[in-house]
Symmetry: C2
Subunit: 769 residues, 2 copies
């Protein structure tokens, strides 16, 4: 845990340069716009510890699988998020002496991520070995409004000297992934061009053949005057640059405006990609830095209007929640249904892949409430478009007749991961994908989605479940053997309650929807059922499973059992463990973790969270009281679910403590791994724990329900949500809950079980409970 | 399955050169002498498919672990059997044209492994592109009597030409392992010397710093006359050679006698290793080819006298069993307690490591019966000497107070393997190591071993078991969670019956021996118990576990359950599977295998085999009848256990079928993997299935029992065993069993439950049943 980030409501601020924390800061101060993003690397060459990272959404490389012992069914490759060509390079040579923050003396330093306006800003004063002091001010943006454009204004001011300064601006495609399995480079050059004040490289990825053109244009001003300079061009394989020389006079500000364009074959033809890049560069230059930055700021203002959460009385908490929201919004904008949300967003390359069940279980609720319907719909369609691949994937594991198993980790629909206990057995992910369809439909009321796409996915998944269970003669019930639940501290168990529950839930939900659609819209259903060769016997089998599924329970304690045999374990509470054992994943061998009772993240409780309406409060309490004390929360996805359930059970102090653990996870580098990148998907869990936990937000039968309370430590909070065309702002203080509707649509809200109408452009309030 | 090996009682013969089978033949025709060994690579450079392999017993390299996803507790390296410098190289250049069996026409070809005399012989006629025909005859031996010496007589005869022939003899240390994790070479040169007709290289292994000097001397004869030649010497890093030119005349035989020495720092000081090598070379040359080969042949005659099995009426079976015995005898001679038996012996590099539980479960019975007591005693002492490491290994997994967990795979006592479900969970290996102490003591009557070494190992293992179980409040019994049994087609199961059984057996056996030794020899016990800080409470805990251990059973079927929940599986017999599913390990994904009922190798039946006296015949039958039909025998170690149990149950035809499957496994390349090397340890299983299966051999309370029968397909067989100082030859035909005692010690044998005295140098017979 580190606490070097200054607390501030709207900005992330680092004051004073701490080289050992540089990689952490590079992660935290990352910027992006949904189409591209980058770690907060310096513009100047930096010889200290750093992790170079520029990413273009959807551009990946299938890195050959590395494994110790091969198991049948493993995928051939792991799709890696690619470190892409870098456009940020601006190097200064002062009287022949190259500026390097690792070698020059850094007299003062301030890095700021301004979340309100979405820019990265760095100010520093540096001194070379001759005592020459230079002031640096750099401001950088990946434009939200024109997402193929990035801009930098890089200003330097000689403080105590006048000297010749060489400025070199580059585009560098000679980059590699730190996380490459076989130390290969993944980019080949296609073409490059280096002309005076315009340069680009078109590079393509090996194997996947994505083409990306990365280019730059620039201007230099002295004071407010554009300088007329004669750039020298350089060009070598995978590197193009321009150099200019200025005689920099003491006290005068020199600004380099670097305009960058990143255009890829995902949106343009491969032919003429260089020309396309030039076109975008020209547009950027024409628009100019100030207007680009202004537009970008306005776009952020809109995002904040929809998704901001205000906390009063706790700056650290305020900064934390905004940081989570900021990262989510700059990672995924929902414009492109081919994209998804990687576990590290644009902040690092670790874990590769782009899509885990995190998207459905944690991210969709965030986008459902904070963005237009299309955004979460696109996330669902992403899976719909991968259905064919999910069927192939299930086929590799021996399933037939259209059974679909979605991959644990994927970029293009194919499985990437290669641990048998996860890849082949952590199949509950299929349930989360089905549940997200319910979640979306329930929240938005968009029944059309089911007809067009959703039911097809549900049928594929139901087919999988019905083949994955088997009849146990010994129990006279259906069982599901050999699975790994959400609690990955158990592997290859039988009858994981959560998985059995979500499987049966899927089958029921699929059957309900078949019944409904076949009645309401027989044409649609007939077409679909014939396309899928669905037959009634299938449905009967599913129905049989829903009636005769085995669920492990302990009747004495009145709890669901995480899996068969759970109570054969020695049951010890985490609080009774010597603290030196924690975190278990760093201190215990894997077998010891597996046979212990300790739980990595919500498992039975994940099921209770998803389906909390299906259980009475006493059942929820008994299970929570049994499982939470056994849970070590060593997944970043764990605390949020517990905030929500603890809130429901009135365990307010515990909810608050869990909330703190999730909200500043990266800002305080809680797990000592932020240097690899931020925990982007878990940020959605933070948001969820706020709104569903403190806010008590639920949607039941098309109606919004709220049960807000305020943690003792705060004086006031408010959050904003979209709901079926209305935009609501829920403000809570110790006395009252005020709901303001800033949309043109009236909406009925159930607050503390009382139905209240919130009219358009009006607000309503009730006393806080 | 291939059937290109000619059937012969005493030799393995390949006629006609089949390049696609060359790697298989290289494995099958391997030779060794317990200290070194090699694949049957050609002396000449061969540009076709081949796997170079020379091995020096005990010389290994710790290759950095390669793994996809790291788990706490994984070892840092995997100890690899090292491909060592090669001394066999003899290259011919005929009129400037290099002989290469891949490029010249092979007119005739015969490769023979003469098992009676222990040599490799190759005859061929080859023709170059000018029509020059050359006869080749090469005979090679790794001397059993002087195990640092290898010799080759390589004879060539021009058939239809007279030409200048360049002969180059080399020692090549520039070798690598095909199975290297990171494509590194593992040898560095220390020194080299290349003088006229003597050359050597001293090379050392990276990291482990084993030094090995590999050298050669040679003579060339024309007809029977030694030629006086002036060799040209060559020397470059890791390669030394001598070349001589002869003018070879049509019809005349030219023989190259190449004497090699391999001396290592395991037996000699590192300093002066080159001189030591020269000394051995001089001795070899002095002794001469003929006498070396004669001595070697006599040593083999002695080995056969002790361990041969004769089968009449079935040449294929005869060849098969001799091949197994031959390989075992040339892999391990029991002279050095630091050595053990690798899964591939000296026939390949795959699987690395040297020691698996195969040694205790399969190999020890072979050496107990066919070699002097010291040999199996040394195999036990190998583990005794690793006890400290086994305690460290257990410590890494969180066990304390002297608990010992022997590694799954090891070279030096440290764990090498890195699959969590095996490395951490396949802990039954500890039981096999304890059981081997019983097996040895029971067979030999050597009670001293227990006092000196055995009990200390038993206490370490018992401590492990007592910490590895836990009390289940739900069952009110002890349980053992999270294990993998011998059937590796189940991972991370609870209460594997075999593991629970062998654990409880160990605890009982340890307690018995503590009781016995503390009574018979209190001084020894007091010393040991104080050295080990053993206290009575430990023993009481062990005793409690033996009384209150849980064993999964199905009372309805009257069988032991392989593990908790086994009967929740869909129970299908292998014979009811579509044959296209088999072998499962090539056709099914891992999860499908895991949740199926199919069994890789004896598991419950392994326990019943070990402890068959503990169960009545009906219990054995019920378990066999239930489990065997579910078993796919996809481990080479499976059929042998089934031969023994089937024999006991009177399932003679089934026993015979299983026997065939194990006896010619490599000769017929049954599993399509002999090219990687032979299944050396499973060969001991073959031997065991013969003597304990067909022979019905057991030792009970110090007495030898036999219950022989003869498979219908054979007319007669006999096998030889040592037993407590006597040497017995058991001949069985359809009518009678004749037991001949060729030792000077009388021995009492129980045949078909009748006690018979077999006096020294006499024989006795009974009717066959």
């Amino acid at each position: 845990m580190k606490e070097y980030i200054k607390h501030d409501e709207w900005s992330i601020i680092e004051e004073g340069f701490i080289p050992e924390y540089n990689k952490i800061s590079e992660s935290i101060f990352s910027i992006g716009n949904g189409r591209m993003g980058q770690r907060a690397n310096f513009e100047e060459n930096y010889s200290g510890e750093m992790l170079q990272g520029s990413y273009v959404a959807g551009v990946y490389y299938p890195d050959k699988t590395r494994v110790g012992w091969w198991k049948n069914g493993y995928p051939e490759y792991f799709a890696k998020v690619l470190n892409a060509p870098s456009w940020i390079g601006i190097d200064l040579k002062v009287a022949g002496n190259t500026l390097d923050f690792a070698k020059w003396k850094v007299l003062d330093f301030r890095r700021e991520l301004n979340m309100r306006e979405g820019y990265l800003h760095r100010e520093a004063t540096v001194e070379d070995d001759k005592g020459r002091q230079l002031k640096i001010d750099s401001k950088r943006v990946c434009s939200l409004t024109d997402p193929e454009i990035g801009v930098i204004r890089y200003t330097f001011t000689p403080i105590n000297f006048s000297e010749k300064v060489d400025i070199t601006l580059s585009v560098d495609a000679d980059v590699m992934n730190e996380d490459s399995n076989y130390d290969e480079k993944f980019w080949d050059e296609v073409t490059r061009k280096s002309e005076k004040s315009t340069a680009y490289i078109v590079a393509k990825t090996k194997k996947t053949d994505f083409h990306v053109a990365t280019g730059m244009k620039f201007q230099v001003t002295e004071g407010s005057k554009v300088m007329d300079l004669e750039p020298e061009t350089h060009s070598q394989e995978k590197l193009v640059s321009n150099s200019v020389k200025v005689f920099a006079r003491e006290g005068v500000e020199y600004s380099v405006y670097k305009y960058a364009a990143v255009v890829s074959s995902e949106y343009h033809g491969k032919k003429g990609l260089g020309e396309k890049c030039t076109e975008v560069l020209e547009r950027a230059l024409r628009t100019g830095f100030d207007i680009l930055v202004e537009n970008h700021k306005n776009a952020w203002a809109n995002k904040w209007e929809e998704s901001d959460i205000v906390i009063e009385g706790d700056v650290a908490a305020q900064q934390g929640i905004r940081f989570n929201i900021f990262q989510l919004n700059q990672t995924y904008t929902g414009q492109d249904e081919r994209l998804n949300i990687g576990p590290k967003g644009f902040t690092g390359e670790k874990y590769g892949g782009s899509t885990y069940w995190d998207t459905e279980a944690y991210c969709i609720p965030f986008y459902l409430s904070t963005a237009e319907e299309k955004v979460s719909r696109n996330l669902l369609k992403y899976r719909y478009k991968h259905l064919e691949r999910a069927i192939e994937n299930a086929g590799k594991l021996g399933f037939t007749d259209g059974a679909a198993l979605y991959p644990m980790v994927t970029m293009n629909g194919e499985e990437c991961h290669n641990e048998w206990e996860i890849t082949f057995e952590e199949i509950h992910r299929n349930g989360a994908i089905a549940f997200a369809i319910y979640d979306y439909t329930n929240y938005t009321g968009d029944e059309e989605y089911l007809k067009e796409y959703g039911l097809e996915v549900l049928i594929g998944i139901s087919r999988f479940w019905s083949q994955r269970v088997n009849w146990s003669n010994s129990k006279n019930l259906y069982v599901m053997l050999g699975v790994t639940g959400p609690n990955e501290y158990e592997n290859n168990v039988n009858n994981n309650w959560y998985t059995n529950t979500i499987a049966v839930w899927t089958l029921k939900y699929t059957l309900e929807n078949i019944a409904k659609i076949s009645k309401d819209d027989p044409t649609v259903w007939n077409e679909l059922s014939s396309k899928l060769s669905y037959n009634k016997q299938e449905g009967e089998k599913w129905s049989d499973i829903t009636e005769k599924m085995y669920f492990p329970e302990d009747s004495e304690r009145g709890i669901f059992l995480q899996q068969d045999g759970f109570l054969d374990k020695e049951i010890i509470k985490v609080q009774d463990l010597e603290p030196s054992n924690l975190p278990l994943n760093q201190n215990w061998s894997w077998d010891r973790i597996l046979r212990s009772c300790f739980i990595k993240q919500a498992d039975v409780l994940q099921g209770i969270y998803f389906l909390d309406d299906h259980f009475d409060i006493d059942t929820i309490k008994r299970n929570y009281d049994f499982y939470e004390p056994l849970t070590v929360h060593e997944s970043s996805l764990s605390p949020c679910v517990h905030v929500i359930l603890a809130s429901k059970l009135g365990y307010r102090e515990q909810a608050y403590q869990f909330y703190l653990r999730t909200a500043r996870l990266d800002l305080d580098d809680y797990n000592n791994d932020t240097e690899d990148g931020c925990h982007t998907t878990s940020m959605a869990g933070t948001w969820m724990s706020f709104t569903k936990g403190f806010g008590g937000m639920r949607v039941k039968e098309g109606k919004l329900h709220l049960n807000p309370y305020i943690p003792e430590q705060w004086s006031r909070y408010d959050f904003s949500i979209r709901f079926r065309g209305s935009i609501l702002h829920v403000a809570v203080d110790k006395n009252e809950v005020v709901i303001r509707n800033t949309s043109d649509k009236d909406v009925e809200v159930t607050i503390y079980n009382n139905v209240v109408m919130i009219e358009s452009e009006k607000s309503n309030s009730v006393s806080t409970q």
